[in-house]
């Protein structure tokens, strides 16, 4: 587990091993920790923009004692690599998280400079983007994290705009809407974001994934089918 102070220490250790410039964007539980929304996180999720930056990080993490169980031959297909040291785990994504959402220029503009040590510059993604990345996963704990982010206050218009911008090829808004339904069902937290999405969902209903809303409950699915 990483607590906020340990994260800081880890960033310094990593910076000490880097010899060439590298910009990383922190998302996930690590980002929530730095924002005071989470006490500790099981792993750190980072995004880099290029393969070159990934290779620099790869070398630095190996020098810092992390091992990479991920076979690099499959790496460029998934654009994700995992590094481990004891119980600590670092997931690094290149440009895209889990073959779903990308780190866009707009997200970079919204990110906040967190730390700058030597060659390493760490940016903290905006809460809205942390939420959006977490909304795409199927992990139960991410529903709780998303609820925590909502309680802290989010700009829902920003989340909607970003989701729509990234939905030209894949309709990520279906995933986002389903996550909002899960949050509402588990934590009783409705949001204005769902109101923004509903007309889009209705308009694109025939393109919905086969298992859309199955994670929430059958009734919600059947009601939509009827309408």
């Amino acid at each position: 587990m990483f607590h906020k102070d340990e994260l800081d220490q880890w960033i310094r250790q990593l910076a000490a091993q880097l010899t060439e410039p590298c910009e990383v964007y922190l998302i996930g539980g690590g980002a929530m920790s730095f924002r005071g929304l989470k006490l500790a996180t099981k792993d750190i999720d980072l995004i880099v923009s290029s393969k070159e930056e990934f290779e620099r990080l790869d070398r630095a993490l190996s020098s810092a004692g992390f091992s990479r169980p991920t076979d690099l031959s499959g790496f460029y297909l998934t654009a994700m690599s995992v590094f481990e040291r004891g119980e600590s785990r670092i997931d690094i994504f290149v440009g895209q998280v889990g073959k779903m959402l990308r780190l866009t220029p707009a997200m970079k503009r919204r990110a906040m400079l967190l730390r700058s040590h030597g060659s390493l510059t760490v940016f903290l993604c905006a809460k809205e983007d942390i939420f959006l990345f977490k909304a795409m996963t199927s992990r139960a704990a991410d529903v709780d994290d998303c609820a925590q982010l909502i309680r802290g206050g989010l700009n829902h218009a920003t989340i909607f705009a970003e989701c729509m911008d990234q939905s030209s090829e894949n309709r990520w808004y279906f995933w986002l809407y389903e996550k909002l339904c899960e949050i509402e069902q588990k934590h009783h937290l409705p949001t204005p974001l769902k109101d923004f999405l509903e007309p889009v969902i209705k308009k694109n209903w025939k393109h919905r994934p086969r298992d859309f809303l199955k994670a929430v409950n059958e009734d919600a699915f059947n009601e939509r089918e009827k309408s």
């Binding site: 909502i150 309680r151 802290g152 206050g153 009783h188 409705p190 109101d195």
Partner: protein
């Protein structure tokens, strides 16, 4: 009944462990005299207790008051340290949340009761809506008691703060409905079942409901107040009979019911009149049987045509 953003911030520091005026002023970055004003304002709202250290030149100790609303606010702040409650509960926003805490209300009612400009109401509610503290269902708004139970508890306790007694059935700022068996004098206007006789539905009652402050009440208001008195099926049938016999305007009553936090009950009550079964299910009202209602209505000269 108002807590400014600065005062909420001060309260949050006290909830997190700050125990005296000097420390509080350091945390707020203000002068002792300003800090003293803030502490006094919080004490006036019964959120904080001030205690002067008896030693010469001693400090002013501050602690969270034992009052239920103070403890509820403390619990709320400690449970959600990442939420800036000044953005959702500061000044006019608090009035808005207090008005919306018990039942669904439209913008017009919320604005009027919270004494905020109707055009600004959505702007004031924006942060609360964003965090899911306030729910919106088409044109109606209500505090999210399930998603934010601690917030709901604080708002209910704060609303009851100036409650006259345990006999207060409903309270909002300077308006209240007080029930008495006659042993306590109330300077208000009789309402509810006690006034039904004036409108052709005489009812024998043990307690009288008073509306405070004293003023002339319309029959729609009398009816809306009586919704607070419905405790059993008999009361339900009497209310329905009153509604039908006096041909009350549904929209006028809906507005009154909203004002007195009875919209959900009123909607359910109207649903009973339109229902086609013998025993429709009721969530907020006592059990209803169509034949029993028809019998009570006949006593008052109201013929109920069966919809079966």
């Amino acid at each position: 009944m108002t807590i400014t953003k600065t005062n909420l911030c001060a309260f949050a520091h006290l909830a997190e462990g700050c125990a005296d005026l000097r420390s509080l002023c350091r945390l707020l970055g203000c002068s002792i005299s300003r800090g003293s004003e803030i502490a006094t304002a919080l004490a006036n709202e019964r959120l904080v207790v001030k205690q002067r250290d008896k030693k010469p030149g001693g400090s002013l100790d501050l602690s969270i008051a034992a009052a239920p609303h103070a403890r509820a606010l403390e619990e709320l702040i400690l449970a959600h340290p990442q939420t800036d409650f000044g953005m959702v509960l500061g000044s006019a926003r608090l009035r808005l949340m207090l008005v919306a805490c018990q039942d669904w209300k439209d913008r017009k009612t919320l604005s009027a009761q919270a004494r905020v400009n109707a055009k600004n109401m959505l702007q004031l509610a924006k942060e609360a809506l964003s965090r899911g503290m306030l729910m919106r269902k088409k044109s109606l708004f209500k505090v999210n008691d399930q998603g934010w139970p601690l917030l709901y508890r604080f708002l209910c306790e704060y609303r009851a703060l100036s409650s006259h007694s345990k006999r207060t059935r409903w309270q909002l700022f300077d308006e209240s409905l007080i029930e008495t068996d006659g042993s306590v004098a109330v300077n208000g206007s009789p309402s509810g079942f006690a006034r039904y006789a004036d409108f052709g539905v005489p009812v024998r009652i043990a307690n009288v409901l008073y509306y405070v402050p004293k003023r002339q009440l319309s029959k729609e208001e009398v009816f809306a107040h009586s919704l607070w008195e419905i405790k059993d099926s008999r009361g339900l049938y009497l209310a329905l009979t009153f509604y039908v016999k006096n041909r009350l305007d549904q929209e006028q009553v809906r507005i009154c019911a909203m004002r007195y936090d009875q919209l959900s009950r009123f909607k359910e009550l109207i649903g009973l009149l339109d229902h086609r079964g013998d025993r429709p299910a009721t969530a907020r009202l006592p059990a209803f049987e169509a034949d029993d209602f028809a019998r009570v209505a006949r006593l008052y000269g109201v013929k109920i045509v069966s919809q079966r």
